[in-house]
């Protein structure tokens, strides 16, 4: 598996093991076809055809024994949705973001799925930026600084994005059985938290001829909160509505937030490098 390397010599923070787990939780507080949330905050996830996870107390992840035959799927879910649940259970703030760094300063690309976060992060990583994490971006506050904790460096890319990045999609592994996205694993950019210099909210407007960058201020920088937070709805169901709101407003008070609207054409990727660089130098 391509999990981030462990740091430090203390006891592990998360225990991961295989065991039989039930199809459903008894008397869940909330349930959907994919997730049961127990009254104790434990979460059972049914992801993919064969894969179930039981996530307890932000410290324990149990993978159903039947999923062991589908390790690529298990890995994808572990570094994605399962990590997100763990962070919520541990009362951490997680952005729905891919994050890169340069000169020991990070920039996080946030936005709903399909806005090109992973693609832009991969493009920048191929041009001297260090990849810190994809899709799940853990934030910590250290005194008056906001920092990104490095996470998974597995980028999940659509085939056209992989081609735009000079990777033949058929040469890359799939992250999920039957899913067209491909996985590009890059070196870990850092093992230590990196100060966050900017948050860039990605949008797509196909009417544009060239990408557009603008600084956001006030409520516009954090609303709608669902566009910035990882699995905000799940977090609310885990009782985290208030701390997520407080964490996000605190972050936006300390870190400049920008809006970057792409044309939707992969040909605009090179132009985005200059815009991101301008944010990092002037932001």
């Amino acid at each position: 598996m391509s999990l981030p390397p462990a740091v430090g010599d203390g006891a592990p923070e998360i225990e991961l093991r295989c065991s039989d787990i039930p199809q459903r939780l008894d008397a869940p507080a909330w349930s959907s076809p994919f997730i049961d949330i127990g009254t104790d905050g434990n979460v059972l996830m049914r992801l993919g055809q064969h894969t179930r996870f039981l996530i307890r107390g932000g410290r324990e992840v149990i993978v159903d024994e039947g999923a062991a035959a589908h390790m690529p799927d298990v890995e994808t879910f572990l570094v994605g949705a399962v990590s997100g649940v763990l962070l919520h259970q541990r009362n951490d703030l997680a952005l729905h973001a891919s994050c890169v760094a340069i000169d020991d300063r990070a920039v996080a690309f946030v936005g709903p799925s399909g806005r090109g976060k992973s693609t832009l992060a991969a493009f920048l990583a191929a041009r001297g930026f260090a990849l810190l994490t994809d899709d799940v971006c853990r934030i910590v506050f250290q005194r008056q600084h906001v920092c990104v904790v490095p996470g998974s460096c597995r980028l999940r890319l659509w085939p056209d994005a992989a081609r735009a990045l000079d990777h033949a999609p058929e040469t890359l592994p799939t992250g999920r059985s039957g899913h067209p996205k491909r996985v590009l694993v890059l070196p870990v950019g850092s093992v230590d938290p990196v100060p966050l210099a900017a948050v860039i909210r990605l949008a797509i407007d196909t009417r544009l001829k060239t990408p557009s960058l603008s600084r956001l201020s006030g409520p516009a920088s954090v609303m709608p909160v669902e566009d910035l937070l990882y699995r905000a709805r799940l977090g609310r169901r885990l009782g985290r509505r208030i701390p997520l709101f407080q964490g996000l407003t605190r972050l936006a008070g300390l870190v400049p937030v920008f809006s970057l609207t792409r044309t939707g054409d992969m040909a605009d990727l090179p132009g985005l490098v200059g815009l991101v660089a301008s944010v990092m130098t002037g932001g």
Partner: protein, 102 residues
């Protein structure tokens, strides 16, 4: 409290206690716990919101704003009533007769 009360100048108002507010770049963002909605305020609404921490009549609120901004009281009263109406719909303010200071 009568949640459908029309605003009169002597109507007491204050912010609803079931909310969480934060500030970003000097402007208020409120999470209303009643409806679970996030609302962002511009500069004027932010100023009004800060004043709504204490129970006061609509008239007192408007008089204070007119003094702060050296503005036309008639215009301020209409703007404030419009704002309070929106906040009432979002259940972000408490409005009514009687003692709201408890």
């Amino acid at each position: 409290m009568n949640s459908t009360l029309r605003f009169e100048l002597d109507t007491p108002v204050r912010w609803h206690p079931e909310h969480i507010a934060g500030e970003v770049n000097g402007l208020v963002v409120v999470l209303g716990m009643s409806q679970g909605k996030h609302v962002g305020f511009d500069a004027m609404a932010t100023h009004v919101w800060h004043r709504l921490e204490w129970t006061q009549t609509v008239s007192e609120l408007c008089d204070g704003l007119a003094k702060d901004f050296d503005g036309d009281l008639v215009v301020i009263r209409q703007d404030v009533i419009d704002l309070l109406t929106q906040l009432q719909e979002l259940k972000l303010v408490e409005i009514g007769v009687g003692d709201l200071s408890a």
